[in-house]
Symmetry: C2
Amino acid sequence: MKEKISDKVISRLTQYHCILVDYIKKKNYTITSSTIAQLLKIDDSQVRKDISMLNNTGKSRVGYDVNRLKETIEKTLGFKNPKNAFIIGAGNLGTALAKYNDFEAYGLNVMALFDVDKEKIGKKINSKPVFDIKELSEYTKKMNVEIGILTVPSDFAQEIANYAVKSKINYIWNFSPTVLDVPNGVEVWNENLMGNFLQFSYKISK
Amino acid sequence: MKEKISDKVISRLTQYHCILVDYIKKKNYTITSSTIAQLLKIDDSQVRKDISMLNNTGKSRVGYDVNRLKETIEKTLGFKNPKNAFIIGAGNLGTALAKYNDFEAYGLNVMALFDVDKEKIGKKINSKPVFDIKELSEYTKKMNVEIGILTVPSDFAQEIANYAVKSKINYIWNFSPTVLDVPNGVEVWNENLMGNFLQFSYKISK
């Protein structure tokens, strides 16, 4: 599969992956497209179409081979090329994300957290060290990290983002409900939680 | 505006809203579509098209009236019809969301949190009470709440979701990286964080 995968397909593939992981835990070896479709409340034909785009083998009359389909999705989405990241902001959200062990299974390694709070600096969260934000530049170099997961309060988000960019963080996964102004060449992915909620809310109010 | 708004447009409108809130804070009164476009690194024509779909007045030669555009977006997305919700799971993520004051500005009122942990029950987080999960059914009735924000560890997510559904939570905003199996009539919105990250990661690896 060489062509670009759309965001919607990527989103669905990760959900299929979730289901497969769960199926493997429960020692099921095959799954049908209609089971996946039913769990996600989407069309069976959509599931079949998505999977047919992958280089997946291991389909039989009784359904897809769960392990093989899982591996195919992982290969397609590049789970095997792990990426290192820092969490910037060791508050509740940063801590929650640092404890989110699924990240590693999906190829995202959180190497450390950064904060300004002297109470937090020097401690560990889920065995990841919390460093002083002043040392960010030093550690991006030392640990070869370019991805920053920004979980600071929105009032400081722009200031901290500027600082992160200066420290050579080139990719920001932004959890603050703020649109960041960054120089060209820096990529921001806004985790627009309220936007997501409003989509949900808009849907259920019909 | 009567027709259904697509998820992508809703997502962009909330980001425009973010920018407008920020502009108002900084005492700016007008904004151009190209400023918005540049901040979001999208096309100017896209911004103009989105805004032209709204019943927005207050456009002049120097740009959009910031306050009016903000209000128009709020009206379009139904911010003025606030919704009450419970957070189920008072761990780090639940606590972070309970402290997320922007929710209220967007019409989402978190009324209380629920947990099993005796240490947490009876306390308050951001002046919201933490109740025993056993009392969920009682409070959904008493407080007229139908939305549950599920922030429990993935291993318990299905079990707690079943319990929430039995307690008459009909809308679940699911933060656990698990696909929930719920009866018909119950709506789930999966906050697929890993999926979002993988979209980002897929994009930046090209």
